[in-house]
Symmetry: C2
Subunit: 450 residues, 2 copies
């Protein structure tokens, strides 16, 4: 296969080719490295990447396969790791000068799990400052004048730009789904607690959720299964038998799914008019399979997410101000002060309200397979605006701990915009199955009309 074909392979495809012997890991990794050589100066997706180290891992993977050893489901496939996730071999600098040269002696649990499945750590992807709002230098590969979103900026940009087939990201408000939406890739934030956060920079123990950026739903499902072992080192990692997300996700839906279109209280003020129109068309297209549903109390949910993130940011990052206030951005310093000054009663009631707020959504799922809602207010903002876009359509589902996926289905002025589907906790497989149904249905429609 030619390098320009190799870089288009999904994780599942690449792993299959390597397994069959049609491609070596070294060929695959070399193709991605060539793409990175070509594009990185413009995109800026990588925080740390050493070609020789990447190739050495690839050659070792080929050797292991050559010896006829059994291989894992990701054998020889390179992945990107957001630079807030510890790796033994690369530094973890958290997008913040205070962590310059910071190296961990251990891989994070999620990295160790991916390596156990045979994956190769290609490099660390750029994050915004401490995975918060201050933009990184990364550009959106779809339009280099635009932001890739944040905070998983490098992961989304690298996957969109064919520099790597998939990457790990993380979401506290909208840091996986928003960049996925802006860069035109799939983003998945599984159920809170599904993927261990052990070895990952903590900004909010109540909200932080690891997630994935990839170019197919099958990849999201496969990677999630590789990452889904319970980990007693993360207090929110819950008991489960193997969730077998892929088995459900890749099965045929027993009946056509139905969708609860939820505008959320952010719609009026935040949603781009073109996005509003695109969703109206999507709803029309789905016909009786989609109803617009009003959920009361979501304004509280948006506010509770905001309060918890602010307060826990202050708790976890506040000590950095003592170490070097001048090495944090002005915006971050202000944010940490805002969080530290929040009334403690508001924070506690925000934390204590979560389970009831989640339970209030149960009955929607008696009638609908998933909530359908935007993944971002519109297409990616211009870099000149100096922002990474608003997570207002994502944060509420993060607070509720529900799995959410962004599907690159819409286009506004030639720019991608994601459709977000949200499912019940611990029902990740069914959510991805529903996402797959929707993507297939829309692609069929687009092919017909072409």
């Amino acid at each position: 296969m030619k390098p320009e074909e190799l870089i288009k392979l999904t994780v599942c495809e690449a792993a299959a080719k390597i397994r069959e012997g049609a491609v070596t890991s070294e060929q695959l990794v070399s193709a991605f490295l060539a793409r990175i050589d070509d594009r990185e100066s413009q995109v800026g997706a990588w925080a740390h990447l050493e070609r020789e180290y990447a190739l050495e891992q690839a050659r070792r993977a080929d050797q292991v396969r050559g010896f006829g050893n059994g291989t894992g489901p990701l054998h020889g496939v390179p992945l990107g790791i957001k630079d807030i996730i510890d790796t033994r071999d690369y530094p973890t600098e958290n997008g913040c000068p205070l962590y310059q040269g910071n190296k961990s002696r251990r891989d994070a649990a999620c990295v160790a799990a991916l390596k156990s499945a045979g994956a190769i750590v290609l490099g660390k992807t750029v994050t915004t400052e401490l995975a918060l709002m201050t933009p990184s230098a990364t550009r959106n590969p779809i339009d280099l004048e635009r932001s890739p979103g944040g905070s998983s900026a490098g992961s989304a940009a690298a996957v969109a730009d064919l520099m790597v087939p998939a990457a790990l990201g993380s979401q506290t408000a909208g840091s996986v789904l928003r960049p996925a939406s802006y860069c035109g890739v799939y983003g998945f934030k599984p159920t809170f607690g599904l993927i261990s956060r052990n070895g990952v920079l903590m900004q909010s123990h109540t909200l932080d959720t690891l997630g994935l950026l990839a170019r197919s739903i099958d990849d999201l499902a496969l990677l999630t299964d590789c990452l889904s072992a319970q980990d007693p080192n993360d207090p929110v990692s819950y008991e489960r038998s193997q969730p077998h997300v892929a088995r459900t996700a890749l099965s045929a839906a027993p009946m056509a799914p139905s969708f609860a279109f939820v505008k959320t209280p952010a719609w009026q003020e935040y949603a781009d008019p073109a996005m509003q129109e695109a969703f109206a068309e999507l709803k029309d297209f789905l016909g009786p399979a989609c109803d617009e549903i009003e959920i009361s109390g979501l304004d509280n949910v948006i506010e509770w997410q905001r309060i918890i993130q602010l307060a826990e940011n202050a708790a976890y990052y506040g000590p950095l101000q003592d170490k070097g206030r001048d090495q944090l951005s002005e915006g971050l310093n202000a944010r940490l002060e805002e969080g530290a000054a929040l009334p403690i009663r508001d924070y506690i009631s925000a934390v204590a309200s979560r389970e009831k707020a989640y339970e209030a959504l149960f009955e929607i799922f008696d009638s609908y397979s998933a909530i359908l809602t935007p993944a971002s207010p519109g297409p990616a903002p211009l870099l000149s605006e100096g922002i990474t876009g608003s997570p207002i359509f994502d944060g509420l589902w993060t607070y509720l701990g529900m799995p959410a996926v962004s599907i690159p289905l819409l286009e506004i002025n030639g720019l991608p915009v994601g459709v977000q589907l949200v499912g019940l906790r611990q029902d990740d497989g069914r959510l991805l199955r529903t996402a797959r149904w929707l993507a297939t249905r829309l692609e069929a429609e687009q092919t017909e009309s072409d």
Copy 2:
């Protein structure tokens, strides 16, 4: 049996007598009511108690048994319920005028569970103001000039004074174990999350734990089993198969247990010198079965418990100040203001430190069956001091979510003092088995030396 014998029966004994037909529930309840008639004006243990209603329940229980129906393990046995726990039939006034006449339409989950097991709700027992520090009017039946402790004041006093064989209490710092210690009864605070808190006044979702006051370990075990169903309505209720606490608690220990005597950082400043001496003697008596162990970091644990309780008190009770500040005690108003003004960062780090702090104790349990420590700083304080005593020896284990039992083993100047044993979470049965071993061993010794 004579009334004066009936009131001395434990729950297990009374239930057995009723099951065998040796005693009716009506006879039993009548005996307790006579005792209450006799003593209540001095002790003041009951907030709500209607003799006719109690007798009616007893007669109904006797009828059910008379029809030859199957009966639960607590059939016909009266129990006391702390007046912060909702009951359908009695008001729940939380020791606070703002709740005067407050009636719930539903039983709390724990009350429903006890009723399902056949128990009779004799009445509601007095609590301190909102289960906090302001003393109630209850007196210690062992010495009427002394405090019964708090906040489960009425439950401990009623059980100690043979007004009821056992009662429900609750502990956020030391509100079960301290009154048990002062009143000379057994107190048990099971693992955090074992007993559902659904339908119970919330003062701190991170700490509130339901517990029991009784006159035997067998009773604690039986009652715990009756209360141990998982409850999805309490977010901290964890998955379990039937824990069968009694089966383990009543079995013979496969080997003699060993004890880690932990003085805690409170020892020097708080422990009564006579208590220090009594513990030295206890340690000598246990010989090689007991080592004094120093645990580092317990000063932090004490402080974290304090911060969380203060902050969450402010969150849950703060709104009461708007309803009627003047109907709360001065001390409580000050406490709520102190809590509301706490730095949010301190609170969050106190919450976030819990699991690590608990895990740091794991290795102690490789070598020892239980931690041995005081249940209170000494015997009950005089009423004239205007306090309910300090929970300083209890709060740290409440924070850590570990099961703890107070055993009435020591006496100082004729006043009872409890020995506290603390076990691993979800190991409640083994903790009670160890407690039983210790109590039996000491009683044998005392009989010999008599």
